[in-house]
């Protein structure tokens, strides 16, 4: 430690877009992508908590969950899955466009991603409204005339909890992308600096992965089940 005051290099002049705490663009890139991965680790455990609740109750009440699940609309679920995977593709293409420096393509792919994300949320809103009319929103108005009324209410609590948290993440993602579009149009990103695009992409793909699990767990578990 004694030679600590000796200097390695003196980054007095900061390269454009490199924040003052970083030595160079490479360090900044490494830090921001690692930061997003660490944040996603946090997200895994955040969704993990509610997934754990799902696993426990689905283990305790498999039949009730099957019956309840069969009441969801598979067609809409499958459609939404396709839409969200599509939005992951367009997001990946947006990152690609930023890497090669195609500004118009970048803006276009982000807008496309936002459009697909909005379609997903629109379908979700439609599904929620439908459940509302069917009195399947847990709480005092919940009504279920089939079997397992109590456990079915737990299933629907989890359905709204899990898809609600997921939808909230999408709304946040759409907000970030709105900013990305503005910044991209202003020419803030290029081959040397597109960290925000990359890490927004990581976030969006993560949200996609959550849905990849939610779809079968909520929509498909009971389809083969015949009372």
């Amino acid at each position: 430690m004694a030679e600590a005051l000796a200097s390695a290099h003196a980054p007095d002049v900061h390269v454009l877009h490199v924040a003052h705490q970083f030595d160079d663009a490479e360090q900044q890139w490494t830090a921001s992508t690692l930061g997003m991965w660490v944040f996603l680790a946090q997200e895994v455990l955040f969704f993990g908590g509610i997934f754990a609740v799902y696993v426990i109750y689905r283990t305790l009440y498999p039949d009730a969950f099957a019956v309840a699940s069969n009441h969801l609309d598979v067609a809409l679920g499958t459609f939404n899955t396709a839409v969200l995977i599509g939005s992951s593709l367009t997001m990946a293409l947006a990152v690609h466009a930023s890497q090669v420096g195609h500004r118009r393509a970048l803006v276009g792919w982000i807008l496309m991603t936002m459009l697909l994300g909005s379609v997903f949320l629109g379908v979700k809103v439609y599904e929620y409204a439908h459940k509302w009319h069917e009195h399947l929103v847990p709480g005092p108005w919940f009504q279920w005339h089939g079997e397992y009324p109590k456990q079915v209410e737990i299933f629907y609590s989890l359905y709204f909890g899990m898809t609600g948290l997921h939808a909230l993440h999408m709304v946040v993602g759409l907000g970030i992308m709105t900013w990305l579009v503005v910044a991209a149009r202003a020419g803030r990103f290029g081959p040397d600096y597109h960290n925000p695009v990359e890490i927004t992409g990581l976030y969006w793909h993560f949200v996609d992965i959550v849905w990849i699990f939610l779809f079968p767990l909520l929509y498909l578990i009971g389809r083969h089940w015949h009372p």
Partner: protein, 316 residues
Amino acid sequence: MIGKFSLIPPSASTIASDVDTLFWFISAVTVFFSLLIAGTIIVFMVRFRRRREDEVPRHEDHGSYALEIAWTVIPFALTMVMFFWGASIYANMKRPPDDALHINVVGKQWMWKAQHMEGRREINEIHVPVGRPIRLSIASEDVIHSFYVPAFRIKQDAVPGRINQAWFEATTPGEYHLFCAEYCGTIHAGMIGKIVAMEPAAFQQWLAGGTPGAPAVPVAELGRQQFEQRGCQTCHSGQPGALGPALGGLHGASVPLADGTTVIADDNYLRESILNPHAKLVAGYSPIMPVYQGLLSEEQVMQLIAYIKSLPGDHS
């Protein structure tokens, strides 16, 4: 005993002395290591105190694998002794003897309600004979409570939605504190009572006493009344072809379920099957029984279970 100051709680159950022996063993380990560390620190502090402002010890310490291994392995060995010792006591605590007297206990904000199988009820007081194991079925009507008798070294939470078990065998006649140990709302500190341990003869006399004018009805009999009032026998008639499974000898038997698995029909299974009958449907039956969740109190459920247990029959 109640009201007497002492630094050691009375030890009045068969398990209490086991717990205490282990407690003092861990205490000895704790005191030994605390004094070892504190003593060493004080000795070093004095012996190696800085004598000059510019004093710098120049020798190089390179650590010592032997020491590191020693102070990893020795504490680990001690903790393993504690683990196995503690686990064996715990296993004992969790396994009530077969000949135990059975008492139902229900916690609700903010009182303990107990009912002896012979029918006598009590609130915030439980009379028990000494020298006889007592098994408690503990349930809760509202929030989580915890049934705690320090003199017996036993504690069991009363968790809504299930029936927990605890057991003890009192050794010395006397009155002992009963506390609620899990925070349960406003009058948590007032949810206390006492356990009255009596000589067996005195206990039998007490048990026969009951409320003047109202002869105590045994719990299983109360269960039978519930059973008939609610028309359970229509389906659970025990006849071949009945809509519901036969209940005779059911308790403790293994039951094949509709989903292909089997369960042991313990208290919690019976409780769930009364309140939410479809959750674990018996193989070969349809889910037609009404849901009794919200219609029966925990006490009534326990009475029904007692009745089911009392039914003779072979369930194999």
